[in-house]
């Protein structure tokens, strides 16, 4: 089939936008998958953590004239603190008592409701915009238009993910983390302080949530229910394979690409339906996801 120059240009544009979207989804999905890995439950407070962290950074740094780096840092730190708070008040006792996983679930949605409620009390239902961090809002490379925000998003996400992979695969802490996620009790017997490791996992997940929240705030706007975009991260995790970090990243990039394509073909409302349909089909055909780590419920 003959592709015209304009069509080629456009499809390239879609690929680039898709990668940018996918990189944020990857941050969300890995933050979610980390917790899933270690405590074996779906952390539904992740979305609200993103919102709360992004708003904290907005009020403390960006609204006072801080730059992108400072805002990101503040958001990541805020996310980590919020996640630590959640771990202590929501999950610590349940973990130690080996309670039924349903309590993790309720705890996580309760924490989500709490964060979102607190943000709503502070900001009402208003929309906030991050100040424009870049002198040139777009970069042009031979006819392609890339928004600077998207480019930064891609690069920073990539760096964060590589760093995460390094920590998990190559360091002592990472090894301890993997051991605890494999079998918490045995790891504890081997002298690993599993509570510390769980805390650490929440901190990492919170850092990622803060960064993702800021990026979402830059890409769209800041509003109290921004966290519901976390559902994209969930879909990415399901496509990639629940609990697998590599799967989460692959799923996220794939989802970003598909969504950008559908967006240009169908418009916003129907593309949401279509991505949902794709997830359902995926579950029917390959429920273990791309990475294929099917975590069965332990007996």
């Amino acid at each position: 089939m003959f592709l015209g120059e304009a069509t080629k240009q456009m499809s390239l544009q879609i690929v680039i936008n898709g990668l940018a979207t996918g990189s944020v989804y990857a941050l969300i999905a890995t933050g979610f998958a980390l917790i899933f890995n270690i405590l074996k439950f779906s952390n539904f407070s992740h979305g609200a953590t993103m919102t709360a962290a992004a708003f904290t950074a907005y009020f403390l740094v960006a609204a006072k004239g801080g730059g992108l780096a400072a805002t990101l840092l503040a958001a990541a730190l805020a996310g980590a603190l919020i996640a630590l708070f959640g771990e202590f008040f929501g999950f610590r006792r349940i973990t130690l008592k080996h309670s039924s996983p349903t309590y993790f679930f309720v705890s996580s949605i309760t924490l989500g409701t709490l964060y979102e409620g607190l943000v709503t009390i502070r900001v009402g239902s208003n929309f906030y915009n991050f100040p424009s961090f870049f002198k040139n809002p777009t970069i042009r490379i031979s006819g392609l238009v890339i928004s600077t925000g998207d480019a930064m998003m891609c690069i920073i996400s990539l760096v964060a993910l590589i760093l995460l992979a390094y920590v998990i695969q190559k360091t002592r802490l990472g090894r301890a983390l993997r051991a605890v996620s494999f079998d918490r009790d045995t790891a504890q017997l081997m002298g690993i302080n599993s509570t510390r490791i769980i805390q650490l996992t929440f901190v990492i997940s919170g850092l990622l949530a803060g960064a993702a929240g800021t990026f979402l705030g830059i890409k769209y706007t800041l509003y109290p229910t921004l966290g519901s975009l976390v559902v994209k991260g969930f879909i990415a995790s399901v496509i990639g394979g629940l609990g697998s970090l590599v799967g989460a990243v692959i799923g996220a990039v794939l989802l970003g690409l598909i969504e950008t394509l559908l967006l240009s073909l169908l418009g916003s409302g129907y593309s949401t339906i279509a991505t949902f349909g794709i997830m359902l089909v995926f579950l029917l055909v390959r429920p273990q996801g791309i990475a294929g780590s099917n975590i069965q419920e332990k007996a």
Partner: protein
């Protein structure tokens, strides 16, 4: 009086959804974060059938509930055979997708500005009778073979399977029953408010219902009903605290989860036998106290 009847009607409508969530969460241990989306489908479908299709109320409600259950089947089909986490993730995605769709199909649903002009047909009596009927239905379901199978698989899916329970089918039955109840409550809601818009059916509402079930006691239908009653009437009474509502809820539930994970009532059910037993034990307590004096 009008205010009280208004509050009670809304509480009864919520109650129907919450006993649906009880079947799903309390009995079967599954969580749906898209439950409110089924309510949305129920209310839009019944509203559209009456307003644009010119149907009578009763057949419209029946048809809407059936349609919603069919949608529930399509969503549930790939999910019930998997780990229980999937159902919450998938229903959450489903809820977002439905909200997007309702916002998008402007010519049919009125989009974000809402769907108006639904006749106001739900009375306090209808809501109350429906709620009681729903509670009785669920009470029978709980003591039936299906209910006991649900409880068995909630505790341990693998063991339940080994005992010969068709886990996939029981999960699907519970899911569809809860979807049907929620859809029915959506119908009543539409014909009470005479106006529906997509923003009221987000994951927050579904989470709200789960919280109500846990507040009263996840293993007890009486507890869940009580929890729903208290938590849905409270914000109506304290209207000034509307913004703080979710924060107060969340703090209450966090306290309960940390210190009394089985909820207010635990496993206790309101049956004549249990009432008599409680009365007797209370009597004994006060009796012994007298003897020591």
């Amino acid at each position: 009086m009008a205010l009280v009847s208004n509050i009670l009607t809304q509480v009864f409508i919520t109650l129907i959804s919450v006993v649906g969530v009880y079947v799903l969460t309390g009995l079967t241990g599954m969580f749906s974060l898209g439950q409110a989306a089924f309510m949305a489908i129920g209310s839009y479908a019944s509203g559209l059938l009456v307003v644009k299709g010119g149907m009578a109320l009763a057949p419209a409600i029946v048809l809407a509930v059936l349609m919603t259950t069919l949608v529930g089947y399509l969503v549930g089909y790939p999910v019930v055979r998997l780990r229980r986490d999937y159902i919450s993730l998938v229903t959450l995605g489903f809820g977002e997708a439905i909200a997007a769709l309702l916002n998008r199909m402007t010519s049919l649903t009125g989009g974000a500005s809402g769907f108006t002009g639904i006749p106001r047909r739900t009375t306090l009596l209808l809501a109350a009778v429906s709620a009681v009927a729903a509670i009785i239905l669920v009470a029978f379901f709980k003591t039936s073979k299906y209910g006991r199978q649900c409880i068995a698989l909630r505790g341990d899916e693998l063991a339940a399977k080994a005992m010969g329970i068709n886990v996939t089918r029981v999960k699907m039955t519970a899911f569809l029953l809860s979807v049907a109840l929620t859809a029915y409550s959506g119908c009543l809601y539409a014909f009470y408010m005479s106006y529906v818009d997509p923003s009221g059916f987000g994951w927050k509402k579904s989470a709200d219902w789960v919280i109500m079930v846990f507040f009263g006691g996840v293993n007890s239908l009486t507890g869940s009903t009580l929890g729903a009653f208290i938590l849905s009437a409270l914000p109506q009474v304290l209207r000034g605290l509307q913004n703080y509502r979710y924060v107060i809820y969340a703090v209450l539930v966090l306290l309960i989860i940390n210190f009394k994970p089985s909820g207010l009532l635990g496993e206790w059910e309101l049956t004549p036998r249990n009432l008599a037993r409680t009365a007797r034990s209370l009597g004994r307590k006060f009796g012994t106290r007298k003897e020591t004096h």
